[in-house]
């Protein structure tokens, strides 16, 4: 994985020193809250319901064991012994004290991490496919591109004060696991007819109060043109994006208002004006970055691992975990293991410091010292030899991290919601917990198969509810929490926004409502048909009817 060079290291240290000074000036009253707020946000410090919150960037979701151990230490020393992984693959601490934040930032800098641009109206942490470098359907590892963008966008003076926040995601595979079409810019690495590698550039996606699926504005962009083209997109947006209305300030609104074609025309005009070669990164630098993501030295192993097969035959729980939580590795004899942070009754994405240390040790011993954070709030051990998987899973069992539910109905995405977040209009975590309990039966989960439930505690949609097969949005209705259910969302290359099924329901009624929706699927599916395929075939009507059955029934 990428290691800081002297410039990266200096930039991060200088930023820590600068923020230390800003905090000191806030505390001595030289800076008012209005003056300080944009500064703290640029360093990932929010004020939440109960305390400050610190959001730490995990660039493209990649972490080393050392980094995860440092997060464990910070959680223990400066927080309440746990952290929370978000849908943007960042880590959030819920209880830091403002006066401790400079010290925490120094600890992060020690392990080449930072909180720069994890909030504010700037280019945020760049995300990527969590199976980068290991997926068989990959054309190229997206992480060198993501790292290049991270370096280009970090403290970029022109784009430090955008109309609104700006999120970029990159995938290098056919199948989109990075939700690229729900980002301000989505990049998909592809090959053209000549066999050259480049990017499909999608712009104007986003969830929030006005959900939009990104439109392709360039079907093939040569690799060398990437930064100049991004600069053109950002410049057009920065100059013309709306600053008069926060709710209309995202680039998706501009793309929607003027149309993708006109937006593309303006970008191309700006791109033609720019001195592309001067903006493009030095090929030597590009090669230096790419070298960090070169394929590791894999061992030559048989595709059929006898120890792994024997362990599955002997241990049913392991066999289930292996059938659900493993991802096929492009190299024979290896697998990527998904560590579910969705134990039944747990808060999705939460992990204790003790668990972090165990996972860090596993990654160090069995996964080439590397792990990935997924947008679905889970962890991946990307390079595990199949014959090591049993030992890995047994260790995970001991710390409550061996839940076999990756991609199943209880692998629920949920934002922190009103239990922590000051923007939330309702709680998310208790809904996720209630649903996990309702569908906890392993056999039943497997029978239902792949089904993504995504929950947001407000219209800002951090929980990606719009692109959940079933989406749940927590709102306030007459002083009570009320949950709006959507159906048919899709976070992949066939991205779609879910449609609302009917009026909101109270928290207690959510599990029954989901149960009724799932029952329609189970009753009407054809052989091998997944939930989302059935929704597409059947349309909304039968699900809506089942959903409304209870909602409209007399009390």
């Amino acid at each position: 994985m990428y290691r800081y060079d002297e410039f990266d290291a200096r930039l991060v240290r200088e930023r820590v020193a600068q923020f230390r000074d800003q905090v000191a000036r806030r505390l001595d009253g030289s800076l008012s809250e209005d003056e300080f707020k944009p500064l703290r946000l640029k360093n990932g410090v929010y004020l939440q319901l109960h305390a400050y919150m610190l959001r730490i960037a995990v660039p493209y979701g990649t972490l080393s064991s050392r980094q995860l151990r440092q997060l464990a230490l910070i959680g223990e020393k400066y927080d309440r012994g746990y952290g929370h992984f978000t849908t943007r693959t960042n880590m959030q601490f819920n209880w830091p004290r403002l006066r401790d934040v400079p010290e925490i930032l120094d600890l992060l800098a020690d392990v080449e991490m930072h909180c720069i641009q994890t909030s504010g109206n700037c280019i945020r942490n760049v995300t990527a496919d969590h199976f980068a470098g290991i997926a068989a359907d990959e054309i190229e590892d997206p992480r060198p591109t993501a790292e290049l963008i991270r370096q280009w966008s970090s403290l970029h003076p022109e784009f430090d004060y955008l109309p609104r926040k700006f999120k970029i995601a990159v995938t290098g595979a056919e199948h989109d696991r990075a939700v690229v079409r729900a980002h301000d810019i989505g990049l998909r690495i592809l090959r053209n007819a000549k066999g050259e590698i480049g990017y499909e550039v999608m712009v104007g996606g986003g969830l929030g109060r006005t959900p939009m699926i990104a439109k392709t504005i360039r079907s093939f962009l040569p690799k060398a043109d990437l930064l100049a083209y991004l600069e053109a997109v950002l410049r057009v947006y920065n100059l013309e994006g709306r600053r008069d209305n926060k709710y209309k300030a995202r680039v998706k609104i501009m793309v929607h208002e003027i149309g993708a074609e006109e937006f593309a025309r303006r970008v191309e005009a700006e791109f033609a004006r720019l001195d592309g070669p001067a903006i493009a990164a030095d090929p030597e630098e590009v090669a230096r970055i790419a070298a960090y993501f070169a394929s590791p030295a894999y061992e030559t192993l048989p595709a059929r691992a006898s120890g792994f097969e024997a362990a599955k035959a002997e241990n049913r729980a392991f066999a289930t975990w292996a059938s659900v939580n493993l991802f096929t590795h492009k190299v024979p004899g290896y697998a990527a293991a998904v560590i579910s942070l969705k134990g039944i009754g747990d808060a999705p994405g939460d992990i204790t410091s003790a668990q972090m240390r165990v996972v860090a040790d596993l990654a160090e011993t069995y996964s080439l010292d590397e792990l990935r954070i997924t947008h679905a709030q889970n962890i991946v051990l990307p390079y595990v030899k199949k014959d090591d998987l049993f030992v890995v899973s047994q260790t995970l069992v001991e710390v409550g991290l061996a839940t076999a539910n990756a991609g199943l109905i209880t692998d629920i995405i949920a934002c922190p919601g009103l239990d922590y977040c000051s923007l939330a209009t309702a709680r998310s975590i208790p809904i996720a917990q209630a649903l996990a309990h309702r569908f906890a039966d392993e056999k039943r989960q497997l029978e239902i198969g792949e089904l993504n439930i995504k929950i947001s505690g407000c219209i800002n949609a951090c929980g990606h509810h719009h692109v959940g097969h079933i989406g749940i949005l927590g709102l306030e209705k007459s002083g009570q929490e009320s949950y709006q259910i959507t159906l048919g969302g899709d976070a992949t290359e066939t991205a779609a926004i879910g449609e609302i099924l009917g009026p909101g329901v109270p928290a207690d009624d959510v599990p029954d409502a989901i149960e009724r929706i799932v029952s329609v699927y189970l009753a009407q599916r054809t052989s091998g048909e997944t939930f989302i395929e059935a929704v597409r075939r059947l349309g909304l009507a039968p699900f809506k009817a089942a959903f409304l059955e209870k909602t409209h029934a007399p009390a």
């Binding site: 004020l47 109960h50 305390a51 309440r80 209880w95 006066r99 208790p430």
Partner: protein, 113 residues
């Protein structure tokens, strides 16, 4: 203090401590981390006094995000927020009863003005 409309009486004044972020309550003389210490304003004059205390504390950089919260008094005479949002803010995360004020955990030790 925000210029938002004053909530219905009775009200208390809460905020987050500047240094620690902890939720704190105006007692009439100082900020306390304990919800039960909150001074309850039953009439307009008392509510105006709370607003004055908020403005003073904000400009003195003692607290942030100070605002009035409408409450109902419980059997002990303590103010309990009417809205679920402020209830959670006052107690701690509903999914972690071991954390926040409900667990007797306080971020701050001092409580001066």
């Amino acid at each position: 203090m925000s210029t938002a409309k004053r909530p219905p009486l009775p009200v208390i004044l809460l905020a987050n401590d500047l240094l620690d972020g902890e939720v704190v309550f105006w007692t009439g003389t100082h900020w306390s981390p304990e919800p039960k210490d909150a001074r309850i304003a039953h009439d307009d004059a008392s509510a105006t006094a709370l607003e004055g205390a908020a403005a003073k504390a904000l400009s003195a950089n003692v607290v942030v995000d100070a605002y009035l919260v409408d409450i109902t008094t419980d059997a002990n005479g303590h103010g309990v927020p009417n809205h679920y949002r402020e209830k959670i803010k006052t107690e701690g995360p509903s999914v972690r009863r071991d954390l926040g004020k409900q667990a007797g955990l306080y971020n701050i030790v001092r409580s001066g003005t």
